[in-house]
């Protein structure tokens, strides 16, 4: 409980006084792991682009790949920490390299899920998304079009026959995989 009190108005100097060895760990740079070093050095400008990606048993295609196809593998949903479902479609798959490390990011077209004009529930309980209301298009610097490939889940969109822009969201879980529930955390296992 004493630690908690310290945490309230934590200051770097307080921590150094309290745990002098921190300064030793971080001060001489040994606290900086290879990963942190790679991440701090910013990604290389040379990226690799794919038109499709298989991850977690889900097959994703970018919109340009399936332009000439009737199949649909581009619907993504990102469930944020606060429980908001962000619906979108996959535009591009980018692999960035950070020194020896790599990160695969999905660049998506996101739809406005915060307003009635962009997302609504119909009388049958289906969720509908308005494709003409886009957010985070990536045109401005503060936009956020990217998401980790491991973060998204797949959905399918079915066009509403009465309203062109509205699409019903169909949730889907990958075939041949089972939801085993969350793994018990190591703390609980002890």
């Amino acid at each position: 409980m004493k630690l908690l009190l310290v945490r309230h108005d934590i200051n770097r100097r307080d921590v150094y006084d309290f745990f002098p060895y921190i300064q030793v760990i971080l001060g001489d740079g040994t606290g900086v792991t290879a990963k942190v070093r790679a991440l701090a050095a910013k990604p290389s400008r040379c990226g690799v682009q794919f038109s499709g990606y298989i991850i977690n048993g889900l097959r994703f295609h970018s919109l340009s790949r399936e332009a000439a196809r009737l199949t649909q593998n581009s619907g993504v949903v990102n469930i944020a920490e606060d429980g908001v479902n962000y619906y979108g479609r996959l535009l591009d798959i980018l692999e960035l390299s950070y020194a020896d490390y790599k990160v695969v990011l999905f660049k998506c077209e996101w739809y406005d899920v915060h307003h009635q004009a962009g997302l609504r529930q119909d009388e049958f309980g289906f969720t509908l998304v308005n494709f003409s209301r886009k957010i985070h298009t990536g045109e401005k610097l503060e936009h956020d079009p990217f998401v980790f490939s491991s973060q998204v889940q797949q959905v399918f969109y079915v066009q509403d026959p009465k309203a062109e822009a509205w699409h019903t969201v169909v949730k889907f879980s990958p075939r041949d995989t089972f939801d085993m529930g969350a793994e018990p955390s190591p703390d609980e296992a002890d």
């Binding site: 921190i22 001489d28 991440l39 050095a41 794919f50 048993g57 490390y101 790599k102 990160v103 990011l105």
Partner: protein
């Protein structure tokens, strides 16, 4: 009125599935008949032989039905180690090398830094692991060490009486944190070498 309708559907459905399974299987059995005078015997013999061959093939070297690699393999551990944030998967289609647009690069890098747990390792040094969960639950604003230090740095430069709003802090981090981190780590490098 409804009941007969449903039962008809179910009847046809069952019949269809049964027919489907049975006829597919009969095709295979019929193919085993070599001596038309003794179809049952041929089938029994052929069935037995098929089972034996399947059994033997389990012990054959080389690629057989049992040792064939999966078509959608899990990425290897090496690959998983190389790709941060569990983003390793199997790409489809051609790999095209591109020069990433500068703005996209900034957006991507910012996203990566914002979700990076590595920068939060500080907590693990300071607090025992049992406290760690408690803390993450209690602190809705858990800053990482680097982010913390970055803010300390910035606040020192600003007028001390100004209180930053959360949105202003977010903006500050989005705009200046990547450059600051790059510099910071490089100074660590120099100091340690």
């Amino acid at each position: 009125m409804q009941l007969p309708f449903i039962s008809t559907i179910i009847f046809y459905f069952l019949q269809l599935t049964f027919d489907h399974i049975a006829f597919r299987y009969f095709v295979r059995l019929k193919a085993l008949v070599k001596n038309r005078a003794h179809p049952e015997g041929s089938i029994a013999e052929g069935y037995c032989m098929e089972e034996c061959l399947t059994f033997c093939s389990r012990f054959l070297e080389g690629t057989t039905h049992f040792t064939r690699a999966s078509r959608n393999p899990e990425p290897s551990d090496e690959k998983k180690e190389m790709y941060l944030f569990d983003t390793a998967g199997e790409p489809i289609g051609k790999r095209t090398g591109i020069n990433v647009d500068k703005m996209l690069l900034v957006q991507a890098h910012r996203y990566v830094l914002r979700h990076c747990d590595e920068l939060e390792d500080f907590h693990r040094y300071v607090y025992p692991s049992s406290c760690f969960n408690l803390f993450t639950n209690l602190m809705t604003w858990h800053w990482s060490y680097f982010r913390r230090e970055f803010l300390d740095d910035k606040k020192r430069k600003l007028v001390p009486s100004i209180n930053l709003t959360p949105s202003a802090i977010d903006k500050l981090i989005d705009d200046q944190f990547p450059d600051w981190l790059e510099q910071k780590v490089s100074t660590y490098e120099i100091a340690s070498s």
